[in-house]
């Protein structure tokens, strides 16, 4: 009887142990296994193939053949990383990153291929702008009142005070109370210039919250989808995104100009998309860098993280915002503006525009 009991116990433990086994990744942790896993993870999860095919004829299947021929079983980790990073950069998407213990890949073409239209070095050294003692800072926001002044380049006298905010990093959020205090400081200004040039993103929920200070009605600003399967066209239905008006005190219902350049990416791209639907708002500068797909993290068999876009965003007319948002008024500046005139042409253009808008609204 004791022997029988022992046998039964052993059988139960054995059966339970088999059930407790967990199968590993279907690819081996070899250079070829990691290559195939990387290609397949993108193939099954990336959300903007259609946009890229339309824009520059991306063919992900042919990319597989091109880069597979570069994989050798004897290659080092750094060599493998470089091949995979080059393959991922074919997507032209800075939300697609390969993260290894020694390097992170990052696509920079969204701003390097264009005019910078912004120099933080110039602004931070210029006593006309950020180096002025009148330029204050709370949290990540620099702000100042641009006093009545003479515009050298266009020979115009700007007679009104205009608020100026520079917000360069959406990873550093600002509280409602801080925003209220800035707006209170600008209470005699005819409008605000919000400069987000060089801001490559961060907290997307704050990028959707900040515009709520600039509207008095609920506004639809866009839609989102997410992947529902591994097929290139497996998407959920479009889900609406709205901006609710700010419930507390301190909403700004006067003219706003948002300054953009090609470095406005990800959360900043979303912020600009929200702001263009707010009343009294004008976007001035260059097209934003894009980055409309929400990133998701996956993992290769060798443990390297693969970050990729899986949830595409659209504007309220269902156009993808993956490749950026065009400004209402395209204004560009070269490096000569900084050296010769000692003024940031895009800021000065926005000041003039704000004054004209104010005059027009007064005349009406």
């Amino acid at each position: 009887m004791r022997k029988k009991l022992f046998d039964i116990t052993l059988t139960i433990v054995f059966v339970l142990s088999i059930g407790a086994c967990v199968k590993d990744n279907e690819f081996d942790s070899t250079p070829m296994g990691n290559f195939e896993a990387c290609w397949q993870l993108i193939d099954h999860n990336y959300c903007s193939f259609n946009v890229k095919e339309r824009e520059y004829g991306l063919d992900w299947d042919s990319i597989h053949n091109v880069y597979k021929s570069q994989i050798r079983e004897s290659m080092t980790n750094r060599e493998l990383f470089n091949v995979l990073a080059d393959m991922l950069n074919e997507l032209h998407d800075a939300h697609v990153n390969l993260i290894s213990p020694f390097q992170t890949s990052y696509y920079k073409g969204f701003y390097l291929d264009y005019e910078p239209n912004f120099s933080s070095d110039f602004l931070s050294r210029s006593t006309r702008y950020w180096a002025s003692p009148k330029c204050l800072q709370t949290g990540a926001m620099k702000y100042m009142i641009l006093e009545p002044d003479y515009d050298i380049k266009d020979n115009v006298y700007i007679q009104d005070s205009i608020g100026y905010i520079y917000y360069g990093d959406f990873t550093s959020t600002v509280s409602d109370y801080q925003i209220y205090n800035i707006f209170d400081y600008f209470r005699d200004c005819i409008g605000i210039i919000i400069d987000v040039r060089g801001n490559s993103g961060g907290d997307d929920s704050f990028a959707h919250h900040l515009p709520s200070f600039f509207t008095d009605s609920t506004t639809t600003v866009g839609y989102m989808k997410h992947k529902t399967g591994p097929g290139h066209n497996d998407f959920s239905h479009a889900q609406k995104i709205t901006v609710e008006p700010f419930r507390g005190t301190g909403a700004w219902l006067r003219p706003v100009i948002v300054l953009t350049n090609r470095e406005c990416y990800s959360a900043t791209n979303d912020f600009v998309n929200c702001m263009r639907y707010m009343p009294y708002t004008t976007i001035i500068g260059d097209t934003t860098g894009g980055g409309g797909g929400f990133p998701f993290t996956k993992e290769l068999p060798n443990g390297w993280e693969l970050r990729l876009s899986t949830a595409p965003s659209y504007d309220r007319d269902m156009n993808p915002i993956e490749s950026g948002i065009a400004p209402d008024i395209y204004v560009t500046t070269g490096i000569l503006d900084y050296i010769g005139i000692r003024q940031d042409y895009i800021i000065e253009y926005a000041r003039r525009m704000m004054t004209y808008m104010h005059i027009n609204s007064t005349l009406q």
């Binding site: 059930g19 407790a20 997307d204 997410h226 995104i241 998701f296 993992e299």
Partner: protein, 272 residues
């Protein structure tokens, strides 16, 4: 959806109906038995929402099991079990960590299927609830995965009393298998973070049955009789939890060896 809840509640009420049962091992027919255990073991997991790699690591477990005869002395037994487990797991490259925290609850009513010569087999319907989460800090926008299922279960308990050199012992096997209910299963590329932004929040609840989800707890234990009131229990527990839904696979398997203290009380003692 409403219909599903009605079926679920109806089944739960039926499971509380009268039945005849006798004690397992040394469970007093007119009292309660509570077992409090702590244990350690190994967790193996794969969650394709977070990673395609499997993770493995040390698991710690605290559990409490209650088996009680009804005060009406009708021989009916209620069974209640809960456990808290935490596991810190690593992938095979040892480059990335994943945390697993799980609260598990079981409630069951037992019918006697067999009771003869020291072997007792009880079975009955129950309720199976898992509330837990996986956390992979290295992931940027998808670091969490909720692991939740609430299901009607089939529960089985078998006990066998025997003696080794006049020393009384009991072996038990306990199994709870989730059969039908609801589980949390996010869509293939759905981000929790995204829920903050969109107006119509996506529904991630899903119908669970044995075809798409498998949740089961197996316990094999040996009771050592040290005194009339306090005994020790050495247990092996295997917890299997997984689903295949929305093109994603998830499996969490934990095996734990635990040591517990058995406290038995007779209702006549309790009432004093």
């Amino acid at each position: 959806m409403n219909k599903l809840w009605k079926i679920f509640v109806g089944f739960a009420l039926l499971s509380a109906g009268p039945a005849v049962a006798t004690g397992v091992g040394e469970i007093p027919p007119t009292g309660t038995q509570t077992v409090t255990s702590i244990g350690a073991g190994v967790t193996n997991l794969l969650d394709q929402y977070l990673s395609d790699n499997s993770y493995k690591g040390l698991s710690l477990n605290f559990s409490r099991e209650f088996t009680g005869a009804q005060k009406k002395h009708n021989g009916l037994y209620n069974y209640f079990f809960y456990s808290v487990s935490y596991a810190l797991t690593m992938d095979h490259n040892k480059t990335s960590a994943m945390h697993h925290l799980m609260l598990h609850f079981d409630y069951a009513n037992y019918f006697t299927c067999f009771d003869n010569k020291g072997l007792t087999i009880l079975a009955g319907p129950g309720i199976f609830l898992d509330l837990g989460a996986l956390d992979k800090p290295a992931n940027s926008n998808n670091p969490f995965q909720l692991k939740t299922n609430l299901e009607v279960s089939a529960s089985l308990q078998a006990g066998y009393k025997f003696k080794i050199k006049n020393y009384p012992m009991a072996v038990r096997y306990n199994m709870n298998l989730a059969v039908l209910g609801m589980m949390f299963a996010p869509d293939y590329g759905m981000l929790y973070y995204k829920w903050l932004l969109i107006d119509d929040k996506p529904y991630a609840g899903s119908f669970a049955w044995l075809g798409n989800s498998f949740a089961m707890i197996n316990k094999l234990s040996v009771d050592f009789y040290t005194s009339k009131k306090v005994q020790l229990r050495l247990s092996y527990m295997a917890s299997l939890n997984g689903y295949h839904k929305n093109h994603l696979e998830s499996r969490i398997n934990t095996q734990v060896i635990s040591l517990g203290i058995i406290l038995r009380r007779n209702y006549s003692t309790v009432s004093k």
